[in-house]
Symmetry: D2
Subunit: 243 residues, 4 copies
């Protein structure tokens, strides 16, 4: 006497364009962070897992097993075309410290200017981009959760200087059937300035389309080889604390 579960054909999702999930207004306000000496590194606390200490990529892997990005002078740099790299170890809830630098002679504009990304659990992207005097869509600039929410302010240092992200991340939890119990949450300080305040992540962070959640367990920190035509980005002093 009750209704039946429908069995019929259903429409396929309609393809979207990338621009449909990009918004440019309101513009993110600029805040100049406090100056720091460029050789000034925040050393890891005693319980941190050091993911890069300036020497090698032994904690990382690439698509073919080995991480092929370039290590020199205590930093490592995207090696275009070798693909994304990710940590061998996987993580759930954590505090992450990571420093990144746009090359001083960066060129290009909007998304084509120093594009990379840091993926929480390999899935949820915290955008890396040069947005020092370079406007792009608000929910795609540095400090954004890509295509979900813009940073609260634009706290970029200029090309050639080191930017710092301090991230507090709580993983999503799923039921056995794959449904979501609690979404992921993220707080981000960019150069010591709050840019995400316990934001509830809505799902993955695709270039095209809407975010959705798919059940997963622990995951790595992934760094993006974006492959855009501008100069490559460098990283240093990466450590993580399991929470």
């Amino acid at each position: 006497m009750g209704q039946n579960q429908s069995q019929g054909q259903v429409p396929q999702p309609m393809p979207m364009k990338p621009e449909m999930t990009e918004f440019w207004e309101p513009q993110v306000k600029v805040v100049t962070p406090g100056a720091m000496a460029s050789n000034q590194l925040m050393p890891p606390p005693s319980d941190a897992v050091v993911l890069f200490d300036g020497k090698d990529l032994s904690k990382w892997k690439g698509k073919d097993g080995e991480a092929k990005w370039k290590v020199a002078d205590g930093v490592f740099t995207v090696n275009k075309g070798t693909g994304d790299i990710e940590t061998k170890e996987t993580f759930e809830d954590y505090q992450l410290h990571i420093e990144w630098r746009i090359p001083q002679d960066i060129q290009g504009q909007s998304q084509g200017r120093g594009n990379s990304g840091i993926f929480m659990q390999g899935i949820y992207e915290l955008q890396v981009l040069d947005n020092y005097n370079n406007r792009t869509y608000a929910n795609g600039q540095a400090g954004s959760i890509y295509k979900q929410t813009p940073p609260l302010v634009n706290a970029m240092r200029k090309p050639g200087e080191w930017n710092v992200y301090d991230v507090i991340y709580t993983a999503p939890r799923f039921k056995e059937d794959g449904s979501l119990i609690t979404p992921a949450r993220i707080t981000v300080l960019h150069n010591g300035v709050l840019v995400q305040n316990n934001f509830e992540i809505r799902g993955d962070t695709p270039y095209i389309g809407l975010p959705k959640y798919t059940k997963h367990g622990k995951g790595p920190i992934k760094l993006q080889d974006h492959g855009d035509p501008s100069k490559p980005i460098s990283f240093r002093n990466i450590w993580i604390r399991n929470l």
Copy 2:
């Protein structure tokens, strides 16, 4: 020495198609609610504001001042083409009880079958539709927060029977500058079956495009004259408690 706020022209938002924010999978599971006698009304508690007691639309207004929907036999019915109606009184946080009925001889399919809606604070739509053996996109069926999230299950009664929504709604709060402090939250029981569990509403509920928040104060309960070609929907026994 810091960067400047950009002043330039920015791209206009790219228009979307309605289908882009509609998803059909996974299908919402059917649950048959407990049977109730059709003349069995849950009377309002002593502190409720009765919005419709079966007699007249004196608590409601239409676009030209007067609510022109039809009252008969203790219920009122959409009067196609006369427009949406809304309460004269406005509300913030509340518990709302509202009953609605799809005509027994309803016709059409998908969204074209008994379409109406109940708008929290005049803005955030809880979908009203006949989804008894009528499939549509999951985030647009009865019990959905329109184009944001599907109901947890499909607890529809069949056309000609009365459906009940019991809603617990917490209004969003905004700062003076218009930015969001806390989003709206909603819990919905459909015929006594939980279909929304403290869902965090993401903004308004447009037919085309993505949800966004715009600062507002108290707002009315608004009912939609959807104007689709099928038979009109009726409502009865509407009461609200300020929380």
Copy 3:
């Protein structure tokens, strides 16, 4: 060079008195729920687990294995001194419907008047008590999460009539090391009136002392044989839906 973990003796927790966690002000406002015929039962939806259908206690167990409360006339009644009873099946997140009745000739006052309780996962008590014209401490009256938070309003029916709780419960989640990821949350309608709105439960609900969380998995619905000197309480029409 860092500090050491302290190894010394530490003070024992100082014992508290029950009254220290009881507060009487502000008094909970009375709301008279809508009247219902006493033989009017909300039948379970099709996906519910029926925990008591009026016939027997086969879904329940007592401290010695068998549930020894008395079944008669479609209801069951506390059998003083036989101890609490609980469901054989255990649950995590759920919607629970349960009806309970204070005897018409109840006697006593404050907590000594029709005291029982419904424990979520066997641990977190939703208070059952006669608070129809019987004042007690606000965070110990019917609809309270015992000694944590009072009901939003007092929606009691009078002795001899059936009270209904509709509960939406989300279990707490713990890490493997026992620490809390997310606390439990509860929404309660008492006779159709909201009395708990997504309350964040703070831990267990002891008579003496402060709430704390201890890691656990799924748990039963437990009903309390409070053993107070007044007349025993009855229950009927109990069903639950896993969420």
Copy 4:
């Protein structure tokens, strides 16, 4: 026909002892933060309100109007017996940076060793104490929300070195009738190590008794003249960003 609101006398709250809200177990784990040069100050971002820049207490006031703590060598120090000081300006949601130093020759133990406090909106205390090799109750040590929750770890630097708190604070919101809409929330980094992760503050932070909320608007940053017999605490480099 409904019940009446009770008018009678009610019991007075039973007095508690301070020890009843102090818990010592589990002990908070020690984490040694990364070392920093003692003269290394994080300069304020461009949109910060500088509350102390090393020169004077012009942004602060005391109980008799003037803040009488001592300024010397770019820091200010508690002036015992002159009372708490607080900012003249009041705040709602903010990011706060504040540095504090326990004297190198501190003496005493447990709470009697370098005790002060930083009160959000003048009400909610983030504990300041020397807990370098000094154990006290977990929910009363440095980084705790006093008597509510311990820090996640103990990240103290030793006496004579500067400690840093970076605080993200969201104010509670109240309805006009004084009831709570949303509680306060706080995230705290202690020397760059997460010690509070979006903790939901439960009310004020009394020495004796349980937390409760009382409606308020914007409030100052308040620093405590605890008056314990040990040596006084110093502060420097205080800035705040309205969120």
